[in-house]
Amino acid sequence: MKKFAGQSIIDKLSERFEASKQELTSNSTIADVRQKALNHLVENGLPHAKAEEYKFTNLTKALEKNISFEMNTERVSVSKEDVEKLRIEGLDAYYLTFINGEFNSEFSDEVTESGISFSPLSAAIQENNQLAGKLFDKLSKSTEDAFVAMNSLLANEGTVLEISANSEVSKPVFVQYINTKSSDIHAKNLIEVGANAKVTVIEKVDTLGAEPGFSNIVNEISVATGANAKFYKIENDTDTSYHISNIHVSQDKDSTFTSNTVALNGAMVRNNLDIKLEAEGCEAYMNGLYLLNGKTHVDNHTIVDHMMPNAYSNELYKGIMDDKSRGVFNGKIFVRKDAQKTNAFQSNKNILLTDDATVNTKPQLEIWADDVKCSHGCTTGQLDKDALFYLMARGIKKDRAMAMLLHAFASDVIENLELEPIQAYVEAIITSRLEK
């Protein structure tokens, strides 16, 4: 048998799949998807060290070294206090909390508002919920990414959200994943935003304790005609946590989707964001901020695919790397032949605070249409010395002056975050990091 990257991981996942087969394959449609995912993994393995899409982020190696992938049935108790500490202060939301991959109704809010229905994924699969069949492994595909395959193989829990047409959800939905053990969790969120509906979803994954943990979360988000969906991802996990996110979005006519990704901590984080503008008049906004220190490694891979005319996309990612941290940015823009009158903009700016910090940035534009406006730019530099001197020449201490400049650098991305408690959360972290 040919040996692949991540062979030992795949062997364990196969065993686990066999052991839980009854539970995982109770729904025949999903069972089929899982079997295909397994086949894909067994045939192709995980991304190897030179795999183009993962060449700066060798997640396979990191997982082999740090995560056991053993089945973990041990129950760990988590207090209400633990859960609340990991939320965002002052943020009024519907909190949906999952502990070790299982939905926890005790810590979660009831979503009673009309126009929005929530179901844990396990229940949705049991009840043969139409959304589960429609979205599970449909927008993000096992065949396109090994970690999506891993997710589709094992994810039996997550958030199924359906926003009915013309409904405006009164407050954000906050999906909270908490991992307490030296183990891995795989969760899938399936979100359907009906025509002209409006919703904001926030996702945050945390690990309790110092043991290494791995979380693999997939979001499949379908945004119907005229709808407006916003998705926030707050990444501020422990120094020993590994995370991969796959967010796949399909947008219908005149819809708007906004992605806000804020990466603050973790051992290694990989974010794949893939937005397909499948009809005319779509708008997509991608905001990203990565503020890294220690040895944190954060990789943002984004794709926006303009498939039809008159759509607009705007991407702004900014990073500040301190200590020995590493940032990676890869932004792809595709403008298909039919996507005339496309406006697509991309900007990636980075500041390196030390000689040991690194960033790898790569914009990638592929344009087949001829009547389009596209621009991209990326910069990497150090903190502006002249600006620092100017502030210090007025009596401001160096640390404080640096903090002011970094706040200023990040300010346009932070303003785009819109939700004030999240802005305050990020601002406070910038301040505490720099004024230590």
Binding site: D384, K385, L391, R394, G395, A408
Partner: protein, 252 residues
Amino acid sequence: MLSIKNLQARIEEKEILRGINLEVKPGEVHAIMGPNGSGKSTLASVLAGREDYEVTGGEVNFDGKDLLDMDADERAREGVFLAFQYPVEIPGVSTTNFMKTAINQVREHKGEKALDAVSFLKLMKEKMKLVEIDQSLLSRSLNEGFSGGEKKRNEIFQMAMLEPKLAILDETDSGLDIDALRIVSNGVNALKSKDNATIVVTHYQRLLDYIVPDYVHVLYKGRIVKSGGKELALELEEKGYDWIKEEAEAAV
């Protein structure tokens, strides 16, 4: 107040200041003039603590303390103020927020209580009048998109807010039209007292019609080659710098 003895400084391998001697007492206005490249702006930057320059010799005593031993921020808190020739644009930082931080750090250094929002705004209103600067300008990002005149007025506004003991104006007249020049000079004059001192670095005599110096020093090749009263500036305006250069070369 300020005593400079045999100050030498270089940037990279290039020697720029080759032994400056200068005494400034409270209440005095000193003008530093000289042709381009004579080291005027370097002197201003070295006194303010810009790290691009390496001090290779000499000493600077400010109110009994070793100025060269302090970082730029500490010098500012001790009462040294540099009005920049080219004020830096800093997007994302408002002048108001910047000034509030600066003032309170200076106050803390002096052992004074931080200004509350009301007192700060009151102080700001009062100083804004002095340089005829508009509130809307101060709410914007620091110097971003400001005209040359607005930037220089903002410098003098900051000086008015911080009330330094020693103000160093680096080519504050460059890029100013006659109205802006008048406003900026009025501001500087209004801030003069018997307890503080001003060093005006300028290429032209024009500014000295408005800010009248007690002493004029001519810098050439990194040294003060001639000192005199305000009439020296007029002489330079009339005769240019060539005769100074000749005198200086002859003396070597």
